[in-house]
């Protein structure tokens, strides 16, 4: 009950805060602070003269707000966004503002906005924020900073109001906007606001322009070592054609009689004509390395930060794989079981990063589905890189089966739980390469990781 009441109050406070930040210039915020402080101390007009400051500053603000009641000049706003962004890497985009009015426009301000749905009460209640452990007891208990963190994360980046260069009448201006994405996935721009100050420079009249765009932000990438899993090349049904074009292998071996089921395009028409019976071409079977990259998406109450780091680790391996030598199968469970293949011309690491940018965690802990997906494809897999969120029985069993089947595997367990870290370190070395990766020290762990030994 109290939580719900707080939630509704937070919603009001957030909207008020947004309105204030957009409507007031920095000087306006200073005057607003002055109004509040002098209002508090000026309640008794006999006690202090703060009521005079209150009356004066309040009159300034009211007059300023009245001056901002209308803003009719015509503008058109468009963005030029880069193709991708990366979490934690600053990016720039350009905004073009066309002035369709016959007035030279000065002192305008651009308030570009990333869309974020306000979290529902259930989401707010269930949310866990890794930053909470850094917060004080009050902030943790009340939860407003956590709610703001959720909103910030949903928005994906912070955009401050920016001054716009002068825009002559019927002309246009452009400005660069900097931002640093804080999450992967699509960032949605829905509208941009153009603000004009009042004569005193305290408040802004705002004009809202619908301007939808989206920008895909790829996962954060780490420097990861090259993994030599030491697996054998495996027969690949369909051969290298699978990897380059649609069709069979191009390595011709011989001709043979047609057997039901052979594809029509394999028929060697000249021999058919000469012999009077169907003859087909036979091609060389293909053997090459095909590695699996298994991403554990089962959050199961674990930290979202661990999940994000797991995605980043998977993305880092995907980006660093030698696409010309081998195939890489990304396997994870989302709304269904997914397996994406990249390498040897089938697809590129960039495509895999796009997929990883949009991977969402699964709420439960149904690891058996991922296990099943891996086992379905194990015959073609030369080696396996697993990125797990825990080290428990189902995950141990998977790794054990890999050992039994002779498929070299390496597992990175992203966890901040010291007990899990101890368990991982204890299990490491028994024919398996296991690495515990604390979410706060991914790069350090990767830098220390020795691929030949397996220990970090």
């Amino acid at each position: 009950m109290l939580k719900r009441l707080l939630y509704h109050n937070f919603r009001i406070v957030y909207r008020l805060s947004q309105w204030t930040r957009q409507r007031f210039t920095p000087a306006g915020l200073l005057i607003l602070g002055c109004v509040i402080a002098s209002g508090i101390f000026g309640v008794n007009t006999r006690q202090t003269l703060a009521y005079q400051i209150f009356a004066l500053t309040a009159a300034m603000l009211v007059l300023s707000l009245l001056c901002c009641a209308w803003f009719r000049a015509g503008f058109r706003i468009s963005r030029r966004l880069p193709e991708y962004g990366t979490v934690g890497e600053p990016l720039h985009y350009r905004v073009r503002i066309e002035n369709r009015s016959r007035r030279h426009q000065r002192d305008l301000c651009l308030i570009d906005e990333l869309h974020a749905d306000f979290p529902a009460f259930e989401e707010f209640r269930a949310a866990r924020d890794p930053e909470d452990r850094r917060r004080n007891w009050f902030d943790r208990s009340v939860g407003y900073p956590r709610l703001m963190g959720m909103l910030r994360n949903r928005r994906g980046a912070a955009l401050a109001p920016l001054p716009v260069p002068d825009v002559p009448a019927l002309d246009r201006a452009e400005l660069d906007v900097n931002m640093t994405p804080i999450r992967r996935g699509y960032l949605r721009f829905e509208q941009a606001r153009l603000a004009r100050p009042d004569p005193l420079g305290l408040t802004r009249a705002i004009q809202t322009h619908a301007s939808s765009d989206q920008l895909l932000v790829l996962p954060r990438l780490y420097r990861v070592p090259r993994l030599e899993l030491g697996g054998h090349r495996r027969y690949q049904r369909g051969g290298v054609s699978l990897a380059s074009t649609v069709g069979d292998s191009q390595e011709f071996i011989s001709l043979r009689d047609y057997k039901p089921g052979d594809p029509l395009r394999a028929i060697h028409w000249r021999s058919f004509a000469k012999l009077g019976r169907p003859v087909v071409r036979e091609f060389q079977d293909e053997f090459f390395v095909r590695q699996g990259l298994v991403l554990d998406t089962f959050l199961g109450g674990r930290s979202t930060q661990s999940f994000e780091e797991a995605v980043s680790i998977a993305a880092s391996f995907a980006a660093s794989s030698r696409a010309q030598d081998s195939l890489l199968d990304l396997m994870f469970i989302g709304a269904q079981a997914y397996r994406f293949t990249a390498g040897r011309g089938v697809a590129y690491a960039q495509n895999m990063l796009e997929i990883l940018a949009c991977v969402a965690p699964c709420p439960g802990d149904d690891f058996a589905r991922l296990d099943q997906l891996v086992m379905q494809n194990i015959a073609e897999t030369s080696g396996l890189i697993c990125v797990f969120l825990d080290w428990n029985e189902p995950r141990r069993n998977l790794m054990q089966r890999m050992t039994t089947l002779g498929v070299p595997a390496c597992a990175f367990i992203v966890t901040a739980d010291p007990a899990v870290v101890s368990a991982v370190e204890a299990a490491d070395g028994n024919g398996q390469r296991l690495v515990a990766v604390p979410p706060a020290a991914v790069q350090q762990t990767m830098d220390r990781f020795n691929p030949s030994v397996g220990r970090a």
Binding site: T25, F41, Q52, A55, L56, A59, R96, D107, R172, P197
Partner: protein
């Protein structure tokens, strides 16, 4: 069309204060708070950064330390100020804010960074990861916030009221000029600022008036619906309140005396020794328990023999409270209180069940055994000292022995001062008493009592301010005296020849003027109050009063209430029938402008007391018989006609009455009656 492109722009943020602005803020603060000695060097130190080139390489950690040190200084100041000043300390604290944050600003101004991280100001931000919480690495320039802090702190000084508004307006104008949008011509900016200033000026006048109106309304509501609580250590006066003071008709005290009162009876609740801007206060004087006698029913307060006794009933809103006592109280008895305490300033506190408490107070002719005067009883706040000292010198009080100084002060207030419940003008808070003494010469009892105390102190006579009630209204319904909220009164006590002497300088017409405020429904309220009072006593089984029969009384109420309801209904019908309500009000005030009141006032000033309920004619007869003062019957007859004849007086008769009054006053002066007669202490 060529697109104009600006490079990557930094977000809009608060810039540094323009040159000399911080200094101006500090000077205004020093000017208002009398701290110019500190403000000037502080201002010079801050502004010197414009010319001094060297800077410190202050790290984030060092900023954190300076910020923490400022917080510790702030906490120490808070603790000290609130311990020393109590709740009033908030305004002292406000006036000290520029001191508290000066160090932090100084470090910022002389640092290479020139700005302070928000995380230095808020400890909660320091531990956050800047990757996820961008506010943790945000920076701010504190110069403009510090300037605004100086302005708000300056307001705590509460001096130079008229100039302050415009000084603040000019300084804020300078700030706004530096951030003004260039898209508008300067004339438009100036016009908008002037309009805002004009609106602000009107707004601040409106705020003052709003406070008057709200206070006045709230005072009436509280007074009507809530019981009063007398704080023995603090009394807030209405000095400085604007408009008409209106107190309720609620009966707050009942007094039963063996004989009818011959003059208004003063009942004291508490006395105070320190005055500051409308508030009288004491140090937290300790209450000491008074031991009962061997029977456990009598609490002796003084060794002086008891001459008379009075049975009082008052309402306690808590389980202990200060109660009114007659002057020269010697004992308390016949009470349902479980304990009696007293403090050194004469306040008596009873501990009893909440609600009506009854006690019998004995009193005699001796002085109250209050503590002798201390240095505080001679102290005058600096803001009033000059005016009162000037007046005391003019009256020559220093040269007079205390008893003559008291007489001189009484005479001073008896000459040309009038009683008024209305304060029409607003002054800076320290000037109300000065205006009362030298300009308006009109006020209510709190003005008179406060000015009397301070004037006596200026003349070297220790004095205290006393609050209580003046009882002189007899209720035929209750067959006892009653005091209403509007009968609360204040007067002075002076230390003369080793004893505290009561000195009430409020003109004696205050009571009739207060009675004018009586509500048209006063009778109904009184009846209700009496029923509630008796019901409360019935519940507490307080049946010591033998003449009462409460059971029968309750049954009698039914027809009584019926009759009253019928009468009220009838009265309403008559009013609706065409007699305007204003006519009744006019009738009650008819003849109040009679010049004969000057004769009455002069006689009272000369010490000829008029008994409660005594008509003017009977009073004149008594004076003729006792003091040999001859009065012509003609002016009195004209006065009666003026007061009660619906036709009133003709113009000619008015002239005759005025001439007779002037003649009588001249005659009084000639016979110098006052020299041979004692003064009065009744109010």
């Amino acid at each position: 069309m060529d697109a104009q492109t600006l490079g990557t722009l930094s977000p809009l943020r608060l810039e540094r204060a323009p040159p000399l602005l911080m200094a101006a803020g500090l000077i205004v603060w020093g000017w208002q708070n009398g701290l110019m000695l500190y403000a000037v060097p502080m201002a010079l130190t801050l502004e010197a950064t414009r010319w001094v080139a060297w800077r410190w390489a202050v790290t984030d950690r060092e900023f954190n330390l300076v910020s923490d040190l400022s917080s510790v200084i702030f906490l120490i100041v808070v603790l000290y100020v609130f311990t020393d000043k109590g709740a009033k300390g908030i305004f002292v604290l406000l006036s000290l804010m520029p001191f508290v944050f000066f160090l932090l600003l100084l470090v910022q101004m002389y640092s290479e960074a020139g700005r302070v991280r928000l995380s230095a100001l808020f400890i909660s931000l320091r531990r956050l990861d800047p990757r996820y919480s961008p506010e943790a690495r945000a920076e701010v320039d504190l110069s403009l916030p510090y300037f605004v802090t100086c302005l708000v702190s300056a307001s705590a000084g509460n001096r130079y009221e008229d100039a302050f508004f415009f000084v603040v307006g000019i300084l804020l104008g300078v700030v706004l000029w530096t951030v003004r949008p260039r898209r508008y011509p300067p004339a438009l900016w100036i016009g908008t600022l002037v309009l805002a200033t004009a609106l602000g000026y009107l707004g601040q006048v409106g705020l003052i008036r709003l406070q008057w109106a709200v206070e006045s309304s709230l005072m009436q509501v509280f007074d009507r619906f809530l019981w009063r609580y007398r704080d023995p250590n603090r009394a807030t006066t209405a000095i400085g309140s604007i408009a008409r003071i209106k107190l309720s008709d609620r009966i707050v005290l009942r007094a039963k005396t063996p004989q009818p009162l011959t003059r208004a009876l003063l009942l004291r609740e508490a006395s105070y020794d320190t005055y500051s801007y409308g508030i009288w206060s004491n140090r937290d004087y300790e209450f000491i328990s008074v031991d009962p006698d061997i029977t456990g029913t009598i609490y002796a307060l003084s060794p002086v023999p008891t001459r008379d006794r009075i049975t009082l009933s008052t309402y306690l809103i808590e389980e202990s409270g200060v109660v009114p006592m007659p002057l020269g109280a010697t004992r308390i008895g016949d009470t349902n209180a479980t304990a009696v305490d007293r403090n050194s300033h004469g306040a008596i506190r009873l501990e009893a069940r909440k609600g009506w408490v009854r006690y019998t107070a004995g009193y005699g002719d001796g002085p109250d055994p209050d503590a002798p005067p201390e240095e505080r009883d001679l102290k005058i706040a600096v803001s009033y000292g000059t005016d009162f000292q000037r007046l005391a010198d003019r009256l020559g009080l220093d040269a007079l022995p205390p008893n003559l100084a008291v007489s001189a002060v009484r005479d001073f207030f008896a000459d040309g001062f009038t009683y008024s419940l209305t304060q029409r003008h607003r002054y800076p808070r320290g000037r109300y008493l000065t205006e009362f003494l030298f300009e308006t010469r009109s006020g209510h009892c709190e003005f008179f009592a406060t000015a009397t105390v301070l004037l006596l102190r200026a003349g070297g006579v220790p004095a205290r301010y006393v609050v209580g009630y003046a009882v002189d209204e007899y209720s035929p319904l209750e067959r006892q005296y009653v005091a209403r909220a509007r009968h609360s009164h204040s007067w002075a006590e002076a230390w003369v020849n080793g004893a505290w002497v009561t000195l009430d300088t409020t003109p004696s017409v205050w009571a009739p003027l207060e009675d004018e405020q009586a509500s048209a429904f006063e009778g109904l309220f009184d009846l209700w109050s009496w029923l509630a009072f008796n019901y409360a006593r019935l519940r507490t089984s307080d049946d010591r009063e033998e003449e009462s029969d409460y059971g029968a009384l309750l049954w009698l109420l039914i027809p009584l209430i019926s009759v009253l309801a019928w009468r009220l209904y009838f009265k309403e019908r008559v009013a609706r029938g065409g007699k305007p309500a204003a006519a009744a009000a006019l009738r009650s005030r008819q003849g109040m402008d009679s010049s004969f009141f000057a004769v009455i006032a002069e006689l009272e000033r000369r010490g000829f007391d008029r008994r409660p309920g005594e008509t003017v004619a009977a009073w004149m007869d008594r004076l003729r018989a006792q003091s040999g003062i001859e009065f012509s019957s003609e002016p009195l007859a004209l006065h009666y006609r003026c007061r009660f004849d619906p036709a009133g007086l003709s113009v000619n008769e008015r002239h005759i009455l005025d001439a007779e009054v002037r003649r009588a006053l001249t005659e009084f002066a000639r016979r110098a009656i006052a020299n041979s007669l004692p003064g009065t202490t009744s109010g």
